[in-house]
Symmetry: C2
Subunit: 173 residues, 2 copies
Amino acid sequence: MTVSKAAVVDAAKASRTVRKEPAEEATETSPLHLGELSELLGYSLKRAQLKVFEDFLHCVAPLQLTPAQFSVLLLLEKNPGRNQTEIANTLGILRPNFVAMLDGLESRDLCARARSANDRRSHILMLTDKGRAVLARAKKLVASKHEARLNELLGPANRAALLSMLTKIAREF
Amino acid sequence: MTVSKAAVVDAAKASRTVRKEPAEEATETSPLHLGELSELLGYSLKRAQLKVFEDFLHCVAPLQLTPAQFSVLLLLEKNPGRNQTEIANTLGILRPNFVAMLDGLESRDLCARARSANDRRSHILMLTDKGRAVLARAKKLVASKHEARLNELLGPANRAALLSMLTKIAREF
DNA sequence: GGTATTTGATATAGTGGATAACAATTATTA
DNA sequence: TAATAATTGTTATCCACTATATCAAATACC
């Protein structure tokens, strides 16, 4: 009955797990007016992004992969033999921060560093067999649970239009 | 206020300020294949959000307002007399983290805390005159520089459709 | 051969987000 | 009414992510 506006997270959880804890009342005050906030593209963009990432984490939880880690694995699969700088750059990750990230993936035996024959400074990156297997499972989870849910909410045409505009902003803005 | 110099940032600057620094060469290797990354909605969502926030920062830089601060001022304007918990909750900010944020705004005399008469625990929040003035100027900058640029890139109809879908995801996903 | 650049790495700092706990105050209820 | 629970603002603290400077090793450039 009481619409809990307390936490966005709770609303999300409730949407897939109906729970009826009476303690979740949260003093019923009149809802606030967003005003021009609802016309601010950046605001909706941020809120939507948090929701999507949260759902991604949830869907791929059994594999313990973050969106960033998933993007690295995807990139390694399609671009074998690249070094850390190249992978990090195309993902917008700074090289210093990419080191710890790779350490994590490598310690889980999902990818491996190998010294390049041409340039002994750089590390060639590649997926391990386990990395390929985990990535394959992750793809299935993302497609069947995560993206499918977005498709259901927006419809295929709208989803495509949304993706197109977001890509345009990301590239040309 | 730190105008970062990451790769993404440089690309953005280049899009509005054509510069020809020969040092910006960056070893010309063949571009990497994004693969299914370009079909991942969350990925484009995140990259687009970073771009939009970056441009917001740039457009409203003379007023030294972050997107989060701007959203607080907007909310205070449309909802005078609310307390910290209410404002923080509707913005998805946790109360502990909202304290320092308010400290910053209050120290700049953009808003003020006042003890409530009914409930002496809570602080009633309101814009100061300076806060109203700064907000008015910020709105003009955002509309004329930031949102106008998005409109120019997408077109009014597409922009409206994008906002609609993002809002839907933020609320219903 | 000497200088500059690149690569991976380390250290470090800043920021945003999250939880636990606390005093003061208010609400509940026994 | 007295005792207990809940709420508010706050502090402290932790974690994740981001950003910069710097380094040694290796390579590229004159």
